[in-house]
Symmetry: D2
Subunit: 87 residues, 4 copies
């Protein structure tokens, strides 16, 4: 009795989906490695990857949102004494 | 001009929320460290933490769901030739 | 033949480790829920949880590191035209 | 006074690194969306994405490791009474 009769799994069909996903995951991993290499290259030139990541996050935001976030962050830090009021 | 007039941030109020969260996060971290220690203790006795984690995940499932998952996993593996049909 | 003879798994011992971990994970989850509740309480009072989280991250840093990070972030944003030079 | 004189950030250089990373991250996201679509397609055909992911994880393992893991998982479950001994 073939497996397929019990739960109707068509092996070729499952295999094709699995292999398509595995291929895409591999390409995605290569892309991720490539991103890591670019950060490493930038770091060699003296740039700070952690700050670059923060800037990339900020670049995804609308200018107004970004400015409001920065102003709030500044206000909260002053309220908590992390910054002098007159700075 | 106090910060609070501009955006109405009451420093004491903000500080209390921040400190309550920091205290809880610290306790959570200690809890996490304690979990890690128990796994290490079990590993010293020959248990496999990776399998223990898997078992803990399975224990959260209803018996029927667990059995169905195991049966499906088995069926998919056979369909992909990862297991002999008669195993 | 008891399982224990084949791979020397002492059921009571395994059970005790598993249950200790499950208890700790439960407590950790309750702690996490409590953190979430405090953020919700602060949000009700008009505070911004996202900014609070950022401030909590910054509070973990040494003042010098924090200031250098902020200055670098500012410099990178100006270099990329995200901020006017004279701001 | 140009920013670059203070911390030697060459705007064009930083911009090129940032834009290269943003491009790669976009491609990676498209790849991730594509993976999600294949899982959705398989689900429409009656396959279970959660089990497919588990199978893909198992396919990355050596046969021996996979078999040992399955045997250990089975043994631990029996030791904890999650399975009858004779099953």
């Amino acid at each position: 009795m073939e497996i397929t009769d019990t739960i109707n799994v068509v092996p070729e069909e499952l295999k094709s989906y699995i292999e398509r996903i595995e291929k895409l995951e591999l390409e995605k991993k290569e892309m991720q490695d490539h991103v890591r290499d670019v950060y490493a290259e930038a770091a060699d030139k003296g740039f700070d990857p952690k700050i670059m990541k923060e800037v990339i996050k900020l670049r995804k935001m609308e200018n107004d949102d970004r400015e409001e976030q920065e102003m709030l962050l500044d206000t909260y830090q002053r309220a908590l004494g992390m910054k002098d009021h007159c700075e």
